[in-house]
Protein backbone atom coordinates (compact mmCIF):
# COMPACT_ATOMS: atom_id res chain seq x y z
CA UNK A 1 0.00 0.00 0.00
CA UNK A 2 1.35 3.37 -0.95
CA UNK A 3 1.49 5.66 2.04
CA UNK A 4 3.56 8.45 0.52
CA UNK A 5 3.68 9.76 -3.03
CA UNK A 6 6.60 11.11 -5.01
CA UNK A 7 4.93 14.52 -4.90
CA UNK A 8 4.84 14.39 -1.10
CA UNK A 9 8.55 13.67 -1.05
CA UNK A 10 9.27 16.53 -3.44
CA UNK A 11 7.12 18.87 -1.36
CA UNK A 12 8.86 17.99 1.91
CA UNK A 13 12.25 18.26 0.19
CA UNK A 14 11.36 21.74 -0.99
CA UNK A 15 10.27 22.81 2.50
CA UNK A 16 13.66 21.64 3.80
CA UNK A 17 15.49 23.36 0.93
CA UNK A 18 16.83 20.00 -0.30
CA UNK A 19 17.30 18.96 -3.91
CA UNK A 20 17.13 15.41 -5.26
CA UNK A 21 17.20 13.98 -8.75
CA UNK A 22 14.40 11.70 -9.95
CA UNK A 23 16.37 8.54 -9.15
CA UNK A 24 16.85 9.64 -5.53
CA UNK A 25 13.21 10.66 -5.24
CA UNK A 26 12.19 7.13 -6.31
CA UNK A 27 14.53 5.56 -3.79
CA UNK A 28 13.52 7.84 -0.92
CA UNK A 29 9.83 7.38 -1.66
CA UNK A 30 10.17 3.59 -1.46
CA UNK A 31 12.20 3.80 1.75
CA UNK A 32 9.86 6.25 3.46
CA UNK A 33 6.90 4.18 2.38
CA UNK A 34 8.40 1.14 4.11
CA UNK A 35 9.10 3.11 7.27
CA UNK A 36 5.55 4.45 7.36
CA UNK A 37 4.24 0.96 6.76
CA UNK A 38 6.16 -0.25 9.77
CA UNK A 39 5.04 2.62 11.99
CA UNK A 40 1.45 1.98 10.90
CA UNK A 41 1.53 -1.14 13.06
CA UNK A 42 0.84 1.16 16.00
CA UNK A 43 -2.63 1.84 14.67
CA UNK A 44 -3.49 -1.81 15.27
CA UNK A 45 -3.50 -1.10 19.01
CA UNK A 46 -6.97 -0.61 20.41
CA UNK A 47 -7.12 2.98 21.70
CA UNK A 48 -10.85 3.05 22.40
CA UNK A 49 -11.55 5.31 25.40
CA UNK A 50 -7.94 6.41 25.83
CA UNK A 51 -7.52 10.22 25.80
CA UNK A 52 -4.93 11.66 23.41
CA UNK A 53 -1.62 12.47 25.02
CA UNK A 54 1.18 14.78 23.98
CA UNK A 55 3.85 13.31 26.21
CA UNK A 56 4.93 9.80 27.10
CA UNK A 57 5.68 10.42 30.76
CA UNK A 58 3.10 11.14 33.41
CA UNK A 59 4.59 14.53 34.27
CA UNK A 60 2.89 17.93 34.15
CA UNK A 61 3.48 21.58 35.05
CA UNK A 62 7.25 21.61 35.10
CA UNK A 63 8.49 25.19 35.30
CA UNK A 64 11.69 27.02 36.01
CA UNK A 65 11.89 30.28 37.95
CA UNK A 66 12.67 33.45 36.04
CA UNK A 67 16.29 33.57 37.18
CA UNK A 68 19.23 34.56 35.03
CA UNK A 69 21.74 31.82 34.29
CA UNK A 70 25.09 32.62 32.83
CA UNK A 71 25.10 32.49 29.04
CA UNK A 72 27.98 31.08 27.04
CA UNK A 73 30.56 33.56 25.81
CA UNK A 74 30.16 35.14 22.42
CA UNK A 75 33.31 33.39 21.33
CA UNK A 76 31.98 29.98 22.37
CA UNK A 77 28.57 30.67 20.85
CA UNK A 78 30.17 31.36 17.50
CA UNK A 79 32.49 28.34 17.60
CA UNK A 80 30.02 26.19 15.68
CA UNK A 81 29.13 28.87 13.16
CA UNK A 82 29.65 27.73 9.57
CA UNK A 83 30.99 31.20 8.89
CA UNK A 84 31.16 34.41 10.86
CA UNK A 85 30.97 38.12 10.23
CA UNK A 86 30.74 41.06 12.57
CA UNK A 87 30.02 38.86 15.66
CA UNK A 88 27.16 37.15 13.83
CA UNK A 89 26.52 33.73 12.33
CA UNK A 90 26.97 34.14 8.59
CA UNK A 91 24.63 32.04 6.47
CA UNK A 92 23.45 32.04 2.87
CA UNK A 93 20.48 34.31 2.33
CA UNK A 94 17.14 32.48 2.12
CA UNK A 95 14.24 34.18 0.34
Amino acid sequence: MERISKDDVKHVAKLAELEFDEKDVDKITTQLDRILDHVANISKVDTEGIPPTSHVMDVKNVFREDEVKESVTQEDALKNAPDMENQGFKVPKID
Binding site: K60, R64, K69, V72
Partner: protein, 488 residues
Amino acid sequence: MALDIKNLKYEPVIGLEAHVELCTRTKMFCGCRLSFGEDKNIYTCPVCLGHPGSLPVINRKAVQYAIKIALALNCKIQDYTIFHRKNYFYPDMPKNYQISQYDLPLGVKGHLDVDMGDYTRRVGITRVHMEEDTGKLLHTGTTGRISESEASIVDFNRAGTPLIEVVTEPDIRSPEEAREYMIALRNLILFLDVSNCSMEEGSLRCDANVSVRKKGKEKIGTKTEIKNLNSFKFLQKGLEYEVERQIKLLESGSKVIQQTRHYDSKTAITKVLRSKEEAHDYRYFPEPDLVPIYMESKMVEDIKKTIPELPATKAKRFEKQYGLSIYDSNFLSNDRDLADYFEKCCSCYGNAKNIANWMMGDFSALLNKEKITIKESRVTPENLCRMLEIIDGGKINSKMAKSVFEEMFAAGKDPGKIIEERGLEQIADKSMLEAVIEEVLRDNPGPVEQFRQGKEKALSFLIGKVMAKTKGKANPRMVNEIITKKLS
Protein backbone atom coordinates in the same frame (compact mmCIF):
# COMPACT_ATOMS: atom_id res chain seq x y z
CA MET B 1 -5.94 61.57 3.05
CA ALA B 2 -7.62 58.89 5.09
CA LEU B 3 -9.75 56.38 3.25
CA ASP B 4 -13.39 57.49 3.16
CA ILE B 5 -14.90 54.26 4.48
CA LYS B 6 -18.47 55.56 4.74
CA ASN B 7 -18.70 56.36 1.05
CA LEU B 8 -17.29 53.09 -0.26
CA LYS B 9 -19.39 50.44 -1.98
CA TYR B 10 -17.17 47.91 -0.26
CA GLU B 11 -16.54 47.06 3.35
CA PRO B 12 -13.09 46.07 4.59
CA VAL B 13 -12.90 42.94 6.76
CA ILE B 14 -9.75 42.94 8.88
CA GLY B 15 -8.25 40.62 11.46
CA LEU B 16 -5.01 41.33 13.29
CA GLU B 17 -2.26 39.19 14.73
CA ALA B 18 -0.26 41.03 17.35
CA HIS B 19 3.00 39.83 18.85
CA VAL B 20 3.95 41.02 22.31
CA GLU B 21 7.40 40.43 23.80
CA LEU B 22 7.16 39.87 27.53
CA CYS B 23 9.47 41.73 29.91
CA THR B 24 10.51 38.76 32.01
CA ARG B 25 14.13 38.68 33.11
CA THR B 26 14.99 35.57 31.11
CA LYS B 27 14.01 33.76 27.94
CA MET B 28 10.99 31.47 27.50
CA PHE B 29 12.84 28.17 27.79
CA CYS B 30 16.31 28.98 29.20
CA GLY B 31 17.99 31.29 31.71
CA CYS B 32 19.57 33.65 29.18
CA ARG B 33 18.98 37.33 29.81
CA LEU B 34 16.66 39.35 27.57
CA SER B 35 18.26 42.24 25.78
CA PHE B 36 17.76 44.94 23.20
CA GLY B 37 20.36 46.70 21.12
CA GLU B 38 23.42 45.03 22.64
CA ASP B 39 26.39 43.25 21.06
CA LYS B 40 25.39 40.30 18.92
CA ASN B 41 25.21 36.77 20.33
CA ILE B 42 26.15 37.57 23.93
CA TYR B 43 23.04 36.03 25.54
CA THR B 44 22.86 32.51 24.17
CA CYS B 45 23.23 28.99 25.52
CA PRO B 46 22.88 25.42 24.22
CA VAL B 47 19.06 25.63 24.57
CA CYS B 48 18.46 28.81 22.57
CA LEU B 49 21.18 27.88 20.10
CA GLY B 50 19.39 24.58 19.48
CA HIS B 51 22.33 22.35 20.35
CA PRO B 52 21.58 18.63 20.30
CA GLY B 53 20.81 17.18 23.70
CA SER B 54 19.73 20.47 25.30
CA LEU B 55 16.28 20.63 26.87
CA PRO B 56 13.90 23.58 27.17
CA VAL B 57 12.12 24.28 30.48
CA ILE B 58 9.13 26.66 30.66
CA ASN B 59 9.60 30.01 32.40
CA ARG B 60 6.89 30.17 35.09
CA LYS B 61 6.74 33.97 35.05
CA ALA B 62 6.18 34.00 31.28
CA VAL B 63 3.15 31.71 31.69
CA GLN B 64 1.81 33.94 34.47
CA TYR B 65 2.24 37.04 32.29
CA ALA B 66 0.53 35.29 29.38
CA ILE B 67 -2.42 34.36 31.60
CA LYS B 68 -2.59 37.96 32.78
CA ILE B 69 -2.87 39.20 29.19
CA ALA B 70 -5.45 36.56 28.29
CA LEU B 71 -7.57 37.42 31.34
CA ALA B 72 -7.40 41.16 30.63
CA LEU B 73 -8.69 40.36 27.12
CA ASN B 74 -11.64 38.51 28.66
CA CYS B 75 -10.41 35.14 27.40
CA LYS B 76 -11.28 31.76 28.77
CA ILE B 77 -8.12 30.15 30.17
CA GLN B 78 -7.97 26.56 28.92
CA ASP B 79 -7.65 23.81 31.50
CA TYR B 80 -5.12 21.95 29.39
CA THR B 81 -2.54 23.60 27.17
CA ILE B 82 0.53 22.28 25.33
CA PHE B 83 3.33 23.49 23.07
CA HIS B 84 3.85 22.50 19.45
CA ARG B 85 6.79 22.65 17.09
CA LYS B 86 6.25 24.91 14.11
CA ASN B 87 8.65 23.70 11.46
CA TYR B 88 10.14 25.97 8.84
CA PHE B 89 13.43 26.41 7.08
CA TYR B 90 14.80 29.82 7.84
CA PRO B 91 17.99 30.80 9.68
CA ASP B 92 16.27 33.01 12.29
CA MET B 93 15.74 29.92 14.47
CA PRO B 94 18.71 27.62 15.02
CA LYS B 95 16.47 24.59 15.70
CA ASN B 96 14.67 24.96 12.36
CA TYR B 97 11.46 25.09 14.32
CA GLN B 98 9.84 27.55 16.65
CA ILE B 99 8.23 26.34 19.85
CA SER B 100 4.70 27.71 19.66
CA GLN B 101 1.14 26.64 20.40
CA TYR B 102 -1.28 25.19 17.92
CA ASP B 103 -4.70 23.67 18.60
CA LEU B 104 -4.55 23.96 22.39
CA PRO B 105 -3.65 27.61 23.05
CA LEU B 106 -3.56 29.16 26.50
CA GLY B 107 -6.59 31.44 26.12
CA VAL B 108 -9.58 31.55 23.78
CA LYS B 109 -12.78 33.49 23.05
CA GLY B 110 -12.09 36.92 24.48
CA HIS B 111 -12.83 40.44 23.33
CA LEU B 112 -11.55 43.99 23.49
CA ASP B 113 -13.84 47.01 23.22
CA VAL B 114 -12.35 49.76 21.11
CA ASP B 115 -13.62 53.30 21.61
CA MET B 116 -14.04 55.00 18.23
CA GLY B 117 -15.42 58.27 19.56
CA ASP B 118 -19.01 58.04 18.30
CA TYR B 119 -19.26 54.26 18.56
CA THR B 120 -17.57 51.28 20.19
CA ARG B 121 -16.20 48.37 18.17
CA ARG B 122 -16.10 45.07 20.03
CA VAL B 123 -13.22 43.05 18.56
CA GLY B 124 -13.38 39.33 19.26
CA ILE B 125 -10.14 37.69 20.41
CA THR B 126 -9.85 34.25 18.83
CA ARG B 127 -6.84 33.13 20.81
CA VAL B 128 -3.91 34.16 22.99
CA HIS B 129 -0.96 31.83 22.79
CA MET B 130 2.65 31.54 23.99
CA GLU B 131 5.71 31.07 21.83
CA GLU B 132 9.36 32.06 21.55
CA ASP B 133 10.67 34.96 19.52
CA THR B 134 13.16 34.37 16.71
CA GLY B 135 16.68 35.68 16.23
CA LYS B 136 17.39 38.79 14.21
CA LEU B 137 18.63 38.66 10.63
CA LEU B 138 20.73 41.33 9.04
CA HIS B 139 20.92 40.96 5.29
CA THR B 140 24.17 42.06 3.78
CA GLY B 141 23.80 43.63 0.39
CA THR B 142 25.87 42.65 -2.59
CA THR B 143 29.47 43.37 -1.81
CA GLY B 144 30.25 44.41 -5.32
CA ARG B 145 32.26 41.29 -5.96
CA ILE B 146 30.43 38.93 -8.28
CA SER B 147 31.98 35.88 -6.62
CA GLU B 148 30.30 36.72 -3.30
CA SER B 149 26.64 35.90 -3.04
CA GLU B 150 24.35 37.71 -0.66
CA ALA B 151 24.41 36.51 2.93
CA SER B 152 22.55 36.91 6.21
CA ILE B 153 24.17 37.73 9.54
CA VAL B 154 22.29 36.15 12.43
CA ASP B 155 22.09 37.45 16.00
CA PHE B 156 20.44 35.00 18.43
CA ASN B 157 20.16 37.35 21.44
CA ARG B 158 16.42 37.68 20.78
CA ALA B 159 15.92 34.00 19.95
CA GLY B 160 13.82 32.47 22.74
CA THR B 161 12.40 35.72 24.14
CA PRO B 162 8.91 34.98 25.54
CA LEU B 163 6.36 36.08 22.96
CA ILE B 164 2.58 36.26 23.17
CA GLU B 165 0.45 36.17 20.05
CA VAL B 166 -2.98 37.78 20.19
CA VAL B 167 -5.21 36.87 17.25
CA THR B 168 -8.48 38.69 16.58
CA GLU B 169 -11.63 37.61 14.80
CA PRO B 170 -12.19 39.36 11.43
CA ASP B 171 -14.27 41.98 13.28
CA ILE B 172 -12.39 45.12 12.31
CA ARG B 173 -14.12 47.22 9.66
CA SER B 174 -11.66 49.98 8.74
CA PRO B 175 -7.94 50.76 8.76
CA GLU B 176 -8.67 53.39 11.40
CA GLU B 177 -10.36 50.81 13.63
CA ALA B 178 -7.31 48.58 13.19
CA ARG B 179 -5.07 51.38 14.38
CA GLU B 180 -7.31 52.16 17.36
CA TYR B 181 -7.47 48.47 18.26
CA MET B 182 -3.68 48.24 18.37
CA ILE B 183 -3.45 51.40 20.49
CA ALA B 184 -6.09 50.01 22.86
CA LEU B 185 -4.26 46.67 23.04
CA ARG B 186 -1.00 48.44 23.79
CA ASN B 187 -2.56 50.63 26.48
CA LEU B 188 -4.21 47.60 28.06
CA ILE B 189 -1.01 45.56 28.17
CA LEU B 190 0.97 48.51 29.53
CA PHE B 191 -1.42 48.51 32.50
CA LEU B 192 -0.45 44.90 33.21
CA ASP B 193 3.28 45.59 33.54
CA VAL B 194 4.21 42.55 31.44
CA SER B 195 5.72 44.19 28.33
CA ASN B 196 7.06 47.58 27.35
CA CYS B 197 5.03 47.34 24.12
CA SER B 198 7.32 49.48 21.99
CA MET B 199 6.58 49.26 18.28
CA GLU B 200 9.80 51.15 17.66
CA GLU B 201 11.89 48.53 19.45
CA GLY B 202 9.79 45.69 18.07
CA SER B 203 8.41 44.49 21.40
CA LEU B 204 4.94 45.02 19.91
CA ARG B 205 4.45 43.94 16.30
CA CYS B 206 1.50 43.40 14.04
CA ASP B 207 0.42 41.53 10.90
CA ALA B 208 -2.97 42.03 9.28
CA ASN B 209 -5.36 39.83 7.31
CA VAL B 210 -7.53 41.91 5.05
CA SER B 211 -10.26 41.38 2.48
CA VAL B 212 -13.12 43.47 1.12
CA ARG B 213 -16.75 42.63 0.35
CA LYS B 214 -19.69 44.51 -1.11
CA LYS B 215 -21.57 46.28 1.65
CA GLY B 216 -24.46 44.20 2.96
CA LYS B 217 -22.92 40.92 1.82
CA GLU B 218 -22.13 38.21 4.39
CA LYS B 219 -19.52 36.21 2.53
CA ILE B 220 -15.94 37.19 3.23
CA GLY B 221 -13.75 37.83 0.18
CA THR B 222 -10.29 36.44 -0.59
CA LYS B 223 -7.82 37.84 1.89
CA THR B 224 -4.23 38.92 1.78
CA GLU B 225 -1.85 39.00 4.71
CA ILE B 226 0.16 42.19 5.24
CA LYS B 227 3.47 42.08 7.06
CA ASN B 228 5.83 44.76 8.30
CA LEU B 229 3.22 47.14 9.71
CA ASN B 230 5.66 48.50 12.23
CA SER B 231 3.94 51.57 13.63
CA PHE B 232 0.37 52.63 14.33
CA LYS B 233 0.61 55.00 11.37
CA PHE B 234 1.99 52.37 8.98
CA LEU B 235 -0.69 49.92 10.10
CA GLN B 236 -3.39 52.35 9.03
CA LYS B 237 -1.58 53.53 5.86
CA GLY B 238 -0.69 49.99 4.77
CA LEU B 239 -4.26 48.80 5.23
CA GLU B 240 -5.69 51.83 3.43
CA TYR B 241 -3.45 51.10 0.47
CA GLU B 242 -4.36 47.42 0.48
CA VAL B 243 -8.12 48.02 0.77
CA GLU B 244 -7.99 50.43 -2.17
CA ARG B 245 -5.88 47.99 -4.18
CA GLN B 246 -8.35 45.17 -3.62
CA ILE B 247 -11.37 47.34 -4.46
CA LYS B 248 -9.73 48.49 -7.70
CA LEU B 249 -9.04 44.87 -8.64
CA LEU B 250 -12.64 43.82 -8.03
CA GLU B 251 -14.07 46.89 -9.78
CA SER B 252 -12.00 46.17 -12.87
CA GLY B 253 -13.35 42.62 -12.97
CA SER B 254 -10.17 40.95 -11.68
CA LYS B 255 -9.79 38.80 -8.61
CA VAL B 256 -7.85 39.19 -5.39
CA ILE B 257 -5.19 36.50 -5.11
CA GLN B 258 -4.51 35.04 -1.68
CA GLN B 259 -0.95 36.03 -0.88
CA THR B 260 1.38 37.46 1.70
CA ARG B 261 2.36 41.06 1.07
CA HIS B 262 4.98 43.29 2.57
CA TYR B 263 4.33 46.95 3.41
CA ASP B 264 7.08 49.27 2.27
CA SER B 265 6.87 52.46 4.34
CA LYS B 266 9.15 54.39 1.98
CA THR B 267 6.88 54.01 -1.03
CA ALA B 268 3.70 53.50 1.08
CA ILE B 269 2.59 50.50 -0.97
CA THR B 270 2.29 46.75 -0.34
CA LYS B 271 4.31 44.31 -2.44
CA VAL B 272 3.81 40.61 -2.90
CA LEU B 273 6.08 38.46 -0.72
CA ARG B 274 4.77 35.00 -1.57
CA SER B 275 1.63 33.48 -2.96
CA LYS B 276 -0.47 30.70 -1.49
CA GLU B 277 1.18 27.92 -3.48
CA GLU B 278 4.44 28.73 -1.76
CA ALA B 279 2.71 29.35 1.57
CA HIS B 280 4.30 27.77 4.56
CA ASP B 281 3.38 24.27 5.53
CA TYR B 282 4.49 24.22 9.13
CA ARG B 283 3.89 20.53 9.93
CA TYR B 284 2.98 21.23 13.56
CA PHE B 285 3.38 18.43 16.07
CA PRO B 286 3.43 18.34 19.89
CA GLU B 287 6.78 19.43 21.36
CA PRO B 288 8.09 16.21 22.94
CA ASP B 289 10.66 18.06 25.07
CA LEU B 290 8.00 19.88 27.10
CA VAL B 291 5.37 18.46 29.40
CA PRO B 292 1.77 19.69 29.28
CA ILE B 293 0.33 22.41 31.50
CA TYR B 294 -2.80 21.57 33.46
CA MET B 295 -4.08 24.92 34.62
CA GLU B 296 -4.65 25.09 38.36
CA SER B 297 -7.61 27.29 39.18
CA LYS B 298 -5.80 28.71 42.18
CA MET B 299 -2.96 29.92 39.97
CA VAL B 300 -5.41 31.63 37.63
CA GLU B 301 -7.31 33.17 40.56
CA ASP B 302 -4.08 34.48 42.08
CA ILE B 303 -3.10 36.09 38.79
CA LYS B 304 -6.55 37.60 38.42
CA LYS B 305 -5.97 39.41 41.71
CA THR B 306 -2.84 41.08 40.35
CA ILE B 307 -4.70 42.70 37.45
CA PRO B 308 -5.15 46.40 38.21
CA GLU B 309 -8.16 48.48 37.26
CA LEU B 310 -8.15 48.51 33.43
CA PRO B 311 -8.74 51.53 31.16
CA ALA B 312 -12.44 50.94 30.41
CA THR B 313 -13.38 50.56 34.09
CA LYS B 314 -11.14 53.43 35.06
CA ALA B 315 -12.74 55.77 32.51
CA LYS B 316 -16.21 55.01 33.87
CA ARG B 317 -15.01 55.66 37.42
CA PHE B 318 -13.32 58.96 36.47
CA GLU B 319 -16.55 60.10 34.88
CA LYS B 320 -18.54 59.32 38.00
CA GLN B 321 -16.07 60.12 40.75
CA TYR B 322 -14.60 63.34 39.36
CA GLY B 323 -17.47 64.52 37.17
CA LEU B 324 -15.33 64.56 34.03
CA SER B 325 -16.68 64.34 30.48
CA ILE B 326 -16.45 60.99 28.65
CA TYR B 327 -13.76 62.43 26.41
CA ASP B 328 -11.63 63.66 29.31
CA SER B 329 -12.12 60.40 31.23
CA ASN B 330 -11.02 58.31 28.26
CA PHE B 331 -8.04 60.53 27.57
CA LEU B 332 -6.79 60.32 31.13
CA SER B 333 -7.49 56.64 31.76
CA ASN B 334 -6.00 55.18 28.57
CA ASP B 335 -2.48 55.79 29.75
CA ARG B 336 -1.55 54.31 33.08
CA ASP B 337 1.00 56.99 33.98
CA LEU B 338 -1.36 59.79 33.00
CA ALA B 339 -4.16 58.23 35.08
CA ASP B 340 -1.93 57.78 38.13
CA TYR B 341 -0.68 61.34 37.83
CA PHE B 342 -4.21 62.68 37.57
CA GLU B 343 -5.33 60.83 40.67
CA LYS B 344 -2.29 61.95 42.64
CA CYS B 345 -3.24 65.51 41.79
CA CYS B 346 -6.85 64.87 42.80
CA SER B 347 -5.68 63.77 46.23
CA CYS B 348 -4.09 67.17 46.93
CA TYR B 349 -6.29 69.58 44.99
CA GLY B 350 -10.07 69.69 44.82
CA ASN B 351 -11.00 70.87 41.32
CA ALA B 352 -10.56 67.79 39.10
CA LYS B 353 -11.75 69.57 35.96
CA ASN B 354 -8.98 72.17 36.40
CA ILE B 355 -6.39 69.41 36.73
CA ALA B 356 -7.74 67.65 33.65
CA ASN B 357 -7.70 70.87 31.62
CA TRP B 358 -4.07 71.57 32.44
CA MET B 359 -2.98 67.98 31.88
CA MET B 360 -4.73 67.74 28.53
CA GLY B 361 -3.79 71.25 27.44
CA ASP B 362 -0.47 72.96 28.16
CA PHE B 363 1.06 69.95 29.90
CA SER B 364 0.34 67.48 27.08
CA ALA B 365 1.47 70.00 24.48
CA LEU B 366 4.84 70.38 26.19
CA LEU B 367 5.20 66.61 26.66
CA ASN B 368 4.52 66.06 22.96
CA LYS B 369 6.91 68.83 21.99
CA GLU B 370 9.72 67.39 24.11
CA LYS B 371 8.73 63.80 23.18
CA ILE B 372 8.77 62.64 26.80
CA THR B 373 6.22 60.86 28.96
CA ILE B 374 4.55 62.34 32.00
CA LYS B 375 6.66 60.02 34.13
CA GLU B 376 9.82 61.59 32.74
CA SER B 377 8.53 65.13 33.24
CA ARG B 378 9.95 67.26 36.04
CA VAL B 379 6.58 68.68 37.08
CA THR B 380 5.46 66.81 40.19
CA PRO B 381 1.74 66.43 40.93
CA GLU B 382 2.31 68.47 44.09
CA ASN B 383 3.78 71.38 42.14
CA LEU B 384 0.98 71.32 39.57
CA CYS B 385 -1.56 71.46 42.42
CA ARG B 386 0.31 74.33 44.09
CA MET B 387 0.19 76.27 40.87
CA LEU B 388 -3.55 75.71 40.53
CA GLU B 389 -4.04 76.89 44.12
CA ILE B 390 -2.01 80.02 43.41
CA ILE B 391 -4.16 80.77 40.34
CA ASP B 392 -7.32 80.22 42.37
CA GLY B 393 -6.02 82.60 45.06
CA GLY B 394 -5.68 85.34 42.45
CA LYS B 395 -1.96 85.73 42.94
CA ILE B 396 -1.26 85.15 39.27
CA ASN B 397 -3.57 85.23 36.28
CA SER B 398 -3.85 82.45 33.72
CA LYS B 399 -1.56 84.23 31.28
CA MET B 400 1.16 84.45 33.88
CA ALA B 401 0.47 80.83 34.85
CA LYS B 402 1.33 79.67 31.34
CA SER B 403 4.81 81.09 31.59
CA VAL B 404 5.23 79.88 35.18
CA PHE B 405 4.26 76.40 34.05
CA GLU B 406 6.77 76.49 31.20
CA GLU B 407 9.52 77.17 33.73
CA MET B 408 8.22 74.44 36.05
CA PHE B 409 8.36 72.07 33.08
CA ALA B 410 11.84 73.11 32.03
CA ALA B 411 13.47 73.36 35.44
CA GLY B 412 11.29 71.25 37.73
CA LYS B 413 10.91 74.17 40.12
CA ASP B 414 8.29 74.96 42.72
CA PRO B 415 5.78 77.46 41.28
CA GLY B 416 5.89 79.65 44.43
CA LYS B 417 9.62 80.05 44.01
CA ILE B 418 9.34 80.93 40.32
CA ILE B 419 6.75 83.61 41.07
CA GLU B 420 8.93 85.03 43.84
CA GLU B 421 12.13 84.97 41.81
CA ARG B 422 10.56 86.60 38.80
CA GLY B 423 8.53 89.01 40.96
CA LEU B 424 5.44 87.84 39.12
CA GLU B 425 3.07 88.06 42.02
CA GLN B 426 0.00 90.14 41.33
CA ILE B 427 -0.67 92.80 43.90
CA ALA B 428 -4.01 91.71 45.18
CA ASP B 429 -3.52 93.24 48.59
CA LYS B 430 -6.35 95.75 48.80
CA SER B 431 -4.80 98.23 51.24
CA MET B 432 -1.58 98.30 49.26
CA LEU B 433 -3.45 98.90 46.03
CA GLU B 434 -5.60 101.61 47.62
CA ALA B 435 -2.50 103.54 48.67
CA VAL B 436 -1.15 103.50 45.12
CA ILE B 437 -4.51 104.41 43.68
CA GLU B 438 -4.90 107.37 46.09
CA GLU B 439 -1.58 108.66 44.88
CA VAL B 440 -2.51 108.29 41.19
CA LEU B 441 -5.86 110.03 41.67
CA ARG B 442 -4.19 112.93 43.51
CA ASP B 443 -1.56 113.36 40.81
CA ASN B 444 -4.08 113.27 37.93
CA PRO B 445 -6.96 115.62 38.74
CA GLY B 446 -7.69 116.22 35.03
CA PRO B 447 -8.55 112.65 34.05
CA VAL B 448 -10.40 112.19 37.37
CA GLU B 449 -12.64 115.10 36.45
CA GLN B 450 -13.13 113.72 32.90
CA PHE B 451 -14.16 110.33 34.31
CA ARG B 452 -16.67 111.96 36.65
CA GLN B 453 -18.16 113.63 33.56
CA GLY B 454 -18.63 110.20 31.98
CA LYS B 455 -15.53 109.74 29.84
CA GLU B 456 -14.78 106.01 30.01
CA LYS B 457 -11.40 106.47 28.37
CA ALA B 458 -10.17 108.37 31.40
CA LEU B 459 -10.62 105.24 33.49
CA SER B 460 -8.29 103.25 31.24
CA PHE B 461 -5.74 106.02 31.56
CA LEU B 462 -5.92 105.90 35.36
CA ILE B 463 -5.69 102.09 35.46
CA GLY B 464 -2.68 102.32 33.15
CA LYS B 465 -1.00 104.74 35.56
CA VAL B 466 -1.57 102.34 38.49
CA MET B 467 -0.22 99.41 36.45
CA ALA B 468 2.89 101.44 35.55
CA LYS B 469 3.49 102.40 39.15
CA THR B 470 3.21 98.74 40.27
CA LYS B 471 5.34 97.53 37.32
CA GLY B 472 2.42 95.53 35.93
CA LYS B 473 1.88 93.49 39.05
CA ALA B 474 -1.44 94.96 40.12
CA ASN B 475 -4.54 92.89 39.58
CA PRO B 476 -6.25 95.00 36.87
CA ARG B 477 -9.71 93.81 37.78
CA MET B 478 -9.27 94.97 41.38
CA VAL B 479 -7.78 98.30 40.31
CA ASN B 480 -10.79 98.89 38.07
CA GLU B 481 -13.18 98.09 40.90
CA ILE B 482 -11.45 100.29 43.46
CA ILE B 483 -11.16 103.35 41.17
CA THR B 484 -14.76 103.08 40.02
CA LYS B 485 -15.91 102.84 43.62
CA LYS B 486 -13.79 105.75 44.79
CA LEU B 487 -14.96 108.08 42.05
CA SER B 488 -18.65 107.24 42.02
